[in-house]
């Protein structure tokens, strides 16, 4: 009795409840996608062949895992953090050897029985732990550039492997670790520069090169004019402004076209251009040209997914068509609707109101995690909590933005909702480690 009380003591039940709500929502969404009025759903449910019944099994597995984690000792995670990280990296390298090709990326390890494991996803947990471990080292001075670089390396190394696996989507998720790093003292200007860079890239895509160059020049000229008194005092400021100007124009003129034409695959460039409402001319793409020279036909993915996804969400209106009444969902117009595009079924069935409530649940979870983070005594737990928040944020943002046409289509699931055992189990582990750590917040772990 006493022991049981001790075990459940300190567990954030609100968080667990939110978790459960999301998993249930997910199963309902998948049910909506799979539902066919002509087939007796009860029978197909029991037969276990449908994806929602599979997802229910995954949810059961997750529950068992969650209980195990809650029963475990939180010291375990600090102790094994680095080892697990190395194991994760090993798994990722393993994919090059025994990886399975799913939708063009070799990032899955077949486990047999139709189940696959995506190490890159699992590795987010290990990286979180490792980063937490590193940042919570007692003798670490995170104001030093060296330690900042080491932290960034820990965070981005799996991302690098992920890119090599041709799994760009998950690589982006690893940028989530800049949030805990920022919280722990990474200079703010890095984020500002990052955002400015992103803004510049988008501007390059949208605007005529010459127009943008003129605008940049005008901005530089105006800042020189307003800072003319300061420039008189120090010439280095002028040099700095000119340097920035040259850098911006250089990016806009050479770097971005180089990346889009020579680094990215044709389909990647097309998707990114489609996001900002432009069409990309594949004949400029080096990969496409090479392929054409090799006499292979160019794969021409159009924006069918995004268009159908936007139609499905847009047709929901304010209140939606109602549960199981979505015509686009019933007609299977949105590809991958139970996995990456699961948000569309929700958007169509429950409309703007439903989507808003759903998003509020997510936002509430994020707030909750930040609150949990800030009440930790141990910096390991705090950093880990921010890691979880960051990972969730990036998943949610990228996934939903991709369904509503604000982000190019990359294979990123909606946390806890999308169909898929790998992703559900990963997020379960990620979250329940946090709950376990939080439950032990009174213990000084370091």
């Amino acid at each position: 009795m006493n022991q049981q009380e001790q075990l459940t003591k300190g567990i954030d039940w609100i968080f667990v409840l939110l978790y459960a709500i999301l998993v249930c929502t997910g199963i309902l969404c998948i049910f909506m996608v799979e539902y066919n009025p002509d087939i007796n759903w009860a029978a197909s449910f029991i037969s276990g062949k449908t994806e929602y019944s599979k997802q229910l099994i995954f949810a059961g597995v997750s529950a068992i895992l969650a209980i195990f984690i809650l029963l475990s000792d939180s010291k375990l995670y600090t102790a094994f953090a680095n080892l697990l990280y190395l194991f994760g990296i090993f798994l990722m390298f393993l994919t090059f050897a025994i990886g399975k090709n799913v939708n063009g990326s070799r990032s899955w390890i077949p486990l047999g029985g139709g189940f696959n494991l995506q190490p890159a996803q699992l590795c987010t947990i290990f990286t979180s732990l490792a980063l937490s471990k590193y940042l919570s080292m007692q003798d670490l001075d995170f104001t030093k550039v060296r330690s900042q670089i080491i932290a960034a390396a820990i965070a981005l190394f799996p991302a690098l492997i992920s890119i090599m696996q041709n799994e760009t989507g998950l690589a982006i998720v690893y940028f989530a670790f800049f949030i805990p790093m920022y919280r722990e003292g990474l200079p703010g200007w890095i984020l500002v520069v990052g955002f400015s860079f992103a803004f510049l890239v988008v501007a390059t895509l949208i605007m005529e090169p010459n127009t943008l160059a003129i605008i940049l020049t005008v901005i530089a000229a105006v800042s020189v004019y307003f800072l003319r008194k300061k420039i008189k005092r120090s010439k280095s400021l002028l040099a700095f402004i000119i340097g920035i100007w040259i850098l911006c124009v250089g990016i806009q003129r050479f770097a971005v076209p180089y990346i889009f034409n020579d680094v990215f695959q044709c389909y990647q460039s097309t998707r990114i251009y489609a996001m900002v409402g432009k069409t990309y001319d594949c004949s400029q793409n080096r990969h496409a040209i090479n392929r054409e020279e090799n006499n292979k036909s160019i794969s021409k993915p159009d924006d069918y997914n995004v268009r159908q996804s936007k139609i499905a969400i847009g047709s929901g209106g304010l209140l939606g068509r109602g549960f199981l009444k979505g015509t686009q969902t019933r007609g299977k117009y949105v590809p991958e609707q139970q996995t990456d595009f699961v948000f569309t079924s929700l958007g169509e069935a429950f409309g703007f109101a439903g989507c808003s409530i759903f998003l509020m649940i997510y936002l509430f979870i994020l707030y909750r995690i930040v609150r949990i983070a800030e009440r930790q005594r141990s910096s390991f737990s705090r950093v880990y909590a921010y890691c979880v928040a960051g990972i969730l944020l990036l998943h949610i943002t990228i996934n939903i933005c991709m369904t509503i046409g604000l982000f190019p289509v990359v294979g990123i699931p909606l946390p806890l909702v999308s169909y898929g055992g790998s992703s559900l189990i990963t997020f379960t582990i990620l979250i329940f480690i946090l709950i376990r750590l939080d439950a032990d917040r009174q213990m000084v772990l370091r």
């Binding site: 969400i313 015509t327 943002t397």
Partner: protein
């Protein structure tokens, strides 16, 4: 510790970033879900399959309640080009339809050209049963294609093509002009005849069902539980005055002849039969058969598509004489006792107009003159009508006569309920002013008195003339439709005008009775004494009009029974001979069929005899032969061109080809010579004829 404090504020910044990101998502959702109605429309276009249910088209019944035509269900393969750009198993489709890819592409282009790529067009009309089964099974492999149910007409009696008309795909032109007509491209609409005239009655109301479909176009149940569906309302039936047996009999007897026959119920104006010849089986122009037959029907020199009963303009010949007599009686120019001393010809206008009878006394009174069809009597009467001193001048006399003609329904279309009716020709005085100067007299046009000169009537006007005489002065405008199913006040537009009794002339019953007696005598002692209807006394007038290049036009008008007329008829047979020989038997058999509802054995034998006679003018065979050989020559020329290209390397063969070409050339040029369209253009046929009247 200072750093730690500084970092402590950062959680608020991080929360701010979270909130900002979610705010952006919410804004985009607002934009998509609340301010972009286009997505809703696109979603409907995606998922809602709008299926039109065509109601059964109304049936047209004859007077005895027999269905003249029936509906048969057929299926069309319909394509919406914009939806079939991708994923169509073209190879399989082409194999099923037995076409090649080039044909597939051609049809696709035609569809786009006809109805734009967003609207469905017919890809393969009227599928056979097995084609339907094969396509239905594989339809999911052909996105954008669907099977459209299509009721099609069939005609169990194989007759009446000229007035029933036909249904066909509605033209783009019509759609443009009638955007609110409720038709879509590919719909069928009545194009001619009764089908066109009563389109709104026959078509009914189309029903629309909306159902969901998935990304492969497979149906997924009804949309919104059928809340927006409408039910198809069947078209209304039409009950006509046609007696289909009489019609069939008429068409049978007109086999191998050119002409027309019209039978009208004089008491109601209802048309009993409207025969035109040559004609065709209406089944031949049903949508499935259309392509096979239309070329011949539309281009043949005999003009099988013409409805001669209402568009043919013929000189009435002697069948005009009863009208001439009525005018004379009404004007007081003659009495029933008036006669004319004819001895075989009329010399009153310094020309000789022959009369078939030359025994003295054959025109001693009006009845005899009608019964024996005396040309002299009626030429004289006409001359006196025009030169009537009562009016002061021939011009005014002519005007008065012309007024009578209009009163008898001549010179203008009667206004029957199918389109295309012609007015015949009762010329006004200008044409004579031009021809003879201002000082012409009755003698200039004296043959008008025996139904020749410039007088032209349509067969239906002649039949109407018989009605007027039978009714002693009144008539209803001839029409087909007696009543409509579920008739309501809204339908008065269609039928009210046929319930108005016309009595434009007030000629006395006594005058009519005299003429009737004369016509009764025609069948007993007169020109048609050899033609009888078993058990029925009837009244008639035969006529024989001369036509250039051809044998005489045989004309016959009659009504029966004489004491209580139930049927009035007019028969015209081109290139035939005496009216009593060719036109009268046809008319008599049709009347017999109508009145007795059967034919005696003798009559049946007569029908068989008549149906076997071929009275086609030889010119028509000549024309057909020329047209065929012209086609042959063209085909050969084409084949030779291909050959000559193949053999171009050999100089010899080239020279041979050239000489052959030369040989063929004269043949080519003379084929258009002297195609004076006597048959096609009835106008020319008689206007220039040296008018003379024969009588039997």
């Amino acid at each position: 510790m200072l750093v730690q404090n500084n970092n402590h504020i950062r959680n608020r910044i991080i929360l701010g970033i979270f909130t900002a990101v979610f705010a952006i998502i919410i804004i985009q959702l607002l934009n998509l879900q609340l301010f972009s109605p286009k997505y809703k429309i696109q979603a409907e276009n995606n998922a809602i399959l709008r299926k039109v249910q065509y109601p059964d088209r109304g049936i047209i019944y004859d007077h005895h309640g027999r269905a003249i035509l029936q509906n048969v269900v057929n299926y069309d393969l319909v394509v919406t080009p914009s939806e079939s750009r991708k994923g169509v198993d073209t190879a399989l489709l082409c194999r099923i339809l037995n076409i090649d890819t080039a044909e597939y592409n051609k049809r696709m282009l035609t569809a786009i050209f006809k109805n734009t790529r967003f609207k469905p067009s017919t890809f393969e009309p009227l599928l056979t049963q097995e084609l339907y089964a094969q396509l239905n099974e594989n339809l999911y492999k052909f996105p954008g294609f669907s099977l459209q149910e299509r009721p099609v007409r069939s005609y169990p009696y194989h007759c009446g093509a000229n007035f029933l008309g036909r249904v066909g795909e509605v033209s783009a032109d019509y759609l443009k002009k009638n955007p609110d007509g409720g038709y879509q491209a590919g719909d069928y609409i009545g194009l001619t005849g009764l089908e066109k005239q009563y389109e709104t009655i026959l078509m009914g109301q189309r029903g629309v069902t909306r159902s969901l479909r998935d990304n492969r176009g497979r149906p997924q149940g009804s949309y919104a539980n059928g809340e927006f569906d409408t039910v198809a309302v069947a078209g209304r039936n039409i009950y006509t005055s046609i007696d289909i047996k009489v019609q069939q009999l008429g068409e049978k007897m007109f086999q191998g002849k050119i002409g027309a026959a019209i039978a009208i119920n004089p008491k109601t104006g209802g048309i009993i039969a409207m025969v035109t010849a040559p004609t065709f089986d209406p089944n031949d122009l049903s949508p499935a058969e259309y392509r096979k037959h239309i070329e011949f029907l539309a281009t043949d020199t005999s003009g099988p598509m013409l409805n001669r009963a209402v568009t043919g303009r013929y000189p009435p010949g002697s069948t005009y004489k009863p009208v001439g007599a009525l005018i004379g009686l009404d004007e007081g120019l003659i009495t029933p006792a008036s006669g004319y001393p004819c001895l075989g010809a009329y010399y009153g206008c310094n020309t000789r107009i022959r009369c078939d009878e030359h025994w003295a006394g054959h025109a001693d009174n009006l009845k005899l003159a009608i019964a024996n069809s005396c040309n002299s009597f009626f030429c004289n009467l006409f001359k006196n009508t025009i030169d009537n001193p009562k009016y002061g001048s021939p011009r005014k006399g002519y005007a008065a006569w012309r007024n009578y003609m209009h009163g008898f329904g001549f010179g203008n279309p009667l206004g029957i309920d199918i389109a295309g009716e012609k007015g015949g020709n009762i010329p006004d005085t200008t044409i004579y002013n031009e021809a003879y100067g201002p000082r012409w007299v009755g003698c200039n046009m004296v043959t008008m008195g025996i139904g020749q000169d410039k007088m032209l009537l349509t067969p239906i006007q002649s039949a109407n003339e018989a009605c007027i005489i039978a009714n002693k002065g009144w008539y209803y405008t001839p029409h087909f439709v007696d009543s409509l199913e579920h008739q309501s006040d809204d339908d008065t537009v269609y039928l009210a005008k046929y319930h108005i009794k016309h009595e434009p002339l007030h000629i006395s019953d006594a005058d009519y009775r005299t003429v009737q007696q004369g016509m009764e005598d025609v069948t007993e002692v007169g020109t048609a004494q050899n033609v009888s209807i078993p058990g029925i006394k009837y009244a008639a007038k035969t006529g024989t009009a001369q036509v250039p290049h051809l044998k005489n036009l045989a004309v016959f008008i009659a009504y029966a029974p004489a004491d209580n007329p139930k049927i009035a008829i007019a028969v015209y047979v081109e290139n035939a001979g005496y009216g009593a020989t060719w036109a009268a038997p046809i008319g008599a058999r049709m009347m017999e069929q109508y009145l007795n509802d059967t034919l005696t054995d003798d009559s049946q034998a007569d029908v068989d005899r008549l149906s076997k006679v071929n009275l086609f003018p030889p010119q028509i065979y000549e024309w057909r032969r020329k047209k065929d050989s012209l086609k042959q020559v063209q085909l050969r020329e084409k084949a030779k061109e291909i050959d000559s290209i193949a053999m171009a390397k050999h100089d010899d063969s080239l020279r041979v080809a050239a000489t052959q070409k030369e040989k063929k050339l004269p043949h080519d040029t003379d084929s258009h010579n002297h195609l004076s369209p006597v048959i096609i253009n009835e106008d020319k046929k008689t206007s220039s004829s040296p008018a003379r009247e024969k009588r039997k």
